[in-house]
């Protein structure tokens, strides 16, 4: 039943987009987490998606879902600020802010939630199709 595979595919996309939402939330939450050295400062994280190719020899599925291949840390430079009175300032009086770009994170969040919604609708449409198929001839 290929319509049942639609649930797997759309489900995999939903879980991947949830990871993206989680990472975005974590980036937003840590936006102002300052520290006194570049090493221990939070860096923005982003998930990398990849296609899951099904085993053509064994599986009768023709198409593929998606999964999170890994999460990379942004290599953008950290923002440093001269704040000698800050308790976390280093010996030169600097504190380091994470390299989280709030605009980038907001657009990421919108994109993730739209894609999530799209997949929910695909699942709903497939459910309708399956239910109609079950009631055939009645």
């Amino acid at each position: 039943m290929s319509l049942l595979n639609v649930f797997d595919i759309a489900g995999s996309a939903m879980s991947a987009q949830t990871v993206r939402m989680n990472v975005t939330a974590s980036n937003m939450a840590n936006m102002d987490a300052v520290s006194s050295s570049t090493g221990e400062t939070y860096r923005a994280r982003h998930p990398v998606f990849e296609t899951v190719y099904s085993d053509f020899m064994r599986d009768d599925s023709i198409s593929n879902g998606v999964r999170v291949a890994g999460i990379i840390e942004s290599q953008a430079p950290l923002r440093e600020e001269y704040r000698p009175e800050h308790p976390k300032a280093d010996e030169n009086g600097y504190i380091f802010y994470p390299n989280v770009n709030s605009i980038e994170e907001m657009t990421n969040m919108i994109s993730a939630s739209r894609t999530y919604q799209n997949n929910v609708e695909i699942i709903n449409a497939s459910k309708q199709m399956l239910l109609r198929t079950l009631s055939i001839g009645q």
Partner: protein, 128 residues
């Protein structure tokens, strides 16, 4: 009995397969380097119904001209309308409307089948 339902049985199966393919396109809307795929429905249905204008095989050792995928259809890559930096060719709007159209057509096929079945039932019962 096979001719009873005509082309609709084959169409239903193909529509379900195409739904899966389009769902995969939508699922991979954010995957780098993913290429959107689809089938030529008309041509595939022709092949499935066996009324093909294509080459036919008359010997078991002939090689079929149809695609070799599990679907019995040639899965083709979509021509991208808007190239994107990450090499992804999924256009969400196109895929959404294709999916919608596909599921409408699926339900149309179901409706035809239902009509055929209820006609048969009437004939079997002999009542009006």
């Amino acid at each position: 009995m096979d001719n009873l339902f005509g082309i609709h049985a084959a169409a239903l199966k193909l529509r379900a397969n195409r739904a899966e393919l389009l769902a995969a396109n939508i699922a991979n809307a954010d995957t780098p380097n993913f290429k959107a795929r689809d089938i030529d429905f008309k041509q595939t249905l022709k092949l499935a119904a066996g009324k093909s204008g294509e080459m036919v095989t008359t010997n078991a050792r002939h090689i079929n001209s149809a695609g070799t995928s599990k679907m019995g259809a040639e899965i083709m890559y979509r021509t991208p309308t808007q190239p994107s930096l990450d090499g992804n060719t999924v256009d969400l709007q196109t895929e959404r409307s294709a999916f919608l159209e596909n599921s409408m057509m699926y339900q149309a096929s179901l409706r035809f089948l239902n009509g055929r079945i209820s006609g048969l039932m009437t004939a079997i019962r002999g009542e009006i």
